[in-house]
């Protein structure tokens, strides 16, 4: 069986399993939208300004994609490694890369679906604006920039038990959200924090999507950073997957 057809097969069943527990999908879809309604819409300074409102919507979209990727990869993988179904799947003739790719596609599909209500609410209740081709470009940029988060999630999932993964995912998620300027815009940052921020995949993701939607200059460190995080994350994920033998007891 080809790696491609096995990837499609695993993606399909991954999504079927998730869809059979609808609450998982509903919460993933609702959370970013609620955050937008509570934290951005009531602030007229931001919500009334087209530039700021669009950037706020983009930051929350990046945050949604990031938390979705970190949680669903970090937690799902570490939980699955503790269940006996996962070791069974490893005895099937599917290469590691097919299962890693399937997890990326399945979570990516859900993550992008979670962004749609954010854009609808942002378009209806704030001054955020973008032409349809720009929105499409933004989606593509989101998909590209979410790769490092998924791969970091995979690395967390394969390197620790689920109880540790919950804590680590939360620290990584909030750390990256603050340092990446997703909660507070980087223009408010001190110089040293701004420099640190440029190394964060969250900041790079934010800048890439803003560039795709609003245009302007794309700094070199944005795409180089995303590329480096993706390559390092992919290598780490593949290494940890191959080395993994399920949970170890001593």
């Amino acid at each position: 069986m080809s790696t491609l057809s096995l990837t499609v097969l695993h993606t399909k069943y991954n999504l079927i399993e998730t869809a059979r527990v609808p609450i998982a999908i509903i919460s993933a879809l609702a959370f970013p939208t609620l955050a937008l309604l509570f934290f951005v819409v009531p602030q007229q300074v931001v919500a009334g300004n087209a530039l700021y409102a669009t950037q706020a919507v983009i930051s929350l979209a990046v945050f949604a994609v990031m938390s979705n990727a970190l949680f669903s990869f970090g937690l799902t993988i570490s939980e699955n490694r503790e269940k006996p179904w996962d070791p069974y799947l490893r005895t099937l003739p599917a290469p590691g890369i097919a299962r890693v790719l399937a997890q990326i596609f399945a979570t990516g599909t859900l993550g992008l679906a979670a962004i749609i209500p954010v854009i609808v609410v942002g378009g209806l209740f704030t001054a955020a604006e973008a032409s349809p081709p720009r929105v499409l470009a933004g989606f593509i940029a989101l998909a590209v920039s979410s790769l490092p988060f998924m791969l970091i999630g995979i690395c967390i999932g394969y390197s620790m038990p689920s109880k540790a993964a919950i804590a680590v995912v939360q620290i990584v998620m909030f750390g990256m959200a603050f340092a990446g300027g997703l909660f507070l815009p980087p223009m408010l940052f001190a110089d040293w924090l701004n420099t640190l921020s440029k190394f964060m995949p969250s900041r790079q993701a934010r800048e890439l999507v803003i560039w795709a939607v609003q245009g302007g200059q794309l700094e070199w460190w944005v795409w180089v950073g995303i590329l480096v995080w993706t390559v390092v994350g992919f290598a780490g994920a593949l290494l940890l997957f191959r080395r993994d033998e399920g949970r170890r007891y001593h």
């Binding site: 079927i16 527990v21 006996p84 069974y88 003739p93 599917a94 001593h250």
Partner: protein
């Protein structure tokens, strides 16, 4: 006959525990091998080395001429998930399809369902199945890809007698259709029903590897319980393979004896005129039979001595699995 799987001087450690200890084993095509041993003997660890889930600490494992980690070698391998493992939200038909689509030459879902009595359950979510139905599905999954080698780890644990016999019959039909089967169990009955060759493991080592008949002859031991004030004299009767005291009574100690021929031992006991009460005879469990096998050099020991001996000879204490 060609070789399907080979282990050469394989040792697997988990921290301080040696789960598999210097095992060399060859599985030939067309055979039906029973892997027999008490809990914690290393059977599951051995299986996980053959199916590629774990790597040996030292030694080499080959599966169809390749490493078990090589995807191509697993194309001809069938194994079973634990019944608690089935994803509860997927339907029976979906699980069979999902697993089947990994294989180039798969059995059609309907035919497999028919063979394992799952036809009426295909539309049911696996979370709604009974324990026996889950077991049948788990075992069926091992055969969906028409594998050359099938590894069945405790296939009928938790099944009632009818379910067990139906599953054995299905496994035998698959074997006759060409599959080589390795089945682990700690039930002698299961091994007797399925295996032609029996490998006995204890403490991570292979302690016997022979035809079914030869092995059954060695482990067919019976247990005799009684109470007597003359512990030493009764324990010294001819035919006693092993003796343990079991608690002190007011006037007589409880005694547990193991013997290959319990009828002959009881005749000896009566003839000796030694006082006894509360006589009971039953078949020994496999664990008891193994202890007798490995203990035969230390026959007639008291319970304290045998506990000491166990501690010295048994670094295998914990079952190492997921």
């Amino acid at each position: 006959m060609s070789t399907l799987a080979q282990l050469h001087r394989v040792t697997r450690r988990f921290g301080d525990v040696v789960a598999v200890d210097d095992v060399t084993l060859t599985i030939e095509a067309g055979s039906m091998v029973g892997l027999l041993g008490p809990n914690g003997a290393g059977k599951t660890s051995l299986i996980s080395l053959i199916n590629g889930l774990r790597r040996p600490t030292t030694g080499t494992v080959t599966l169809l001429g390749r490493s078990p980690q090589d995807v191509r070698s697993r194309q001809s391998l069938g194994s079973t998930p634990q019944e608690t493992a089935l994803p509860p939200t997927l339907k029976v038909g979906e699980v069979i399809d999902f697993v089947g689509r990994h294989f180039e030459d798969r059995q059609p879902t309907e035919a497999l369902a028919e063979e394992f009595g799952l036809t009426t359950l295909l539309g049911r979510q696996t979370g709604a199945l009974s324990g026996g139905q889950k077991r049948r599905l788990s075992v069926a999954l091992a055969f969906v890809g028409r594998p050359k080698l099938v590894l069945l780890d405790e296939p009928t644990t938790g099944l009632d007698i009818d379910g067990r016999h139906a599953l054995w019959a299905a496994v035998r039909r698959q074997h006759e259709a060409g599959a080589t089967v390795v089945v682990t169990s700690h039930y002698l009955e299961e091994i007797e029903a399925l295996a032609e060759r029996v490998v006995v493991m204890e403490g991570g080592r292979v302690i016997a590897d022979d035809s079914l008949q030869a092995i059954v002859g060695q482990v067919g031991v019976r247990q005799i319980r009684l109470r007597t004030p003359e512990v030493a004299a009764v324990s010294a009767l001819p035919g006693v393979a092993r003796a343990e005291t079991a608690g002190e009574g007011a006037d007589a100690a409880g005694l547990v004896l193991y013997a290959a021929d319990s009828d002959q031992l009881i005749r000896e006991l009566v003839r000796s005129g030694l006082p006894f009460a509360d006589l009971a005879v039953r078949g020994a469990t496999l664990e008891e039979a193994f202890l007798t096998l490995t203990d035969s050099g230390r026959a007639h020991s008291s319970r304290a001595a045998s506990v000491e001996a166990d501690a010295a000879s048994a670094p295998y204490a914990t079952e190492v699995s997921r």
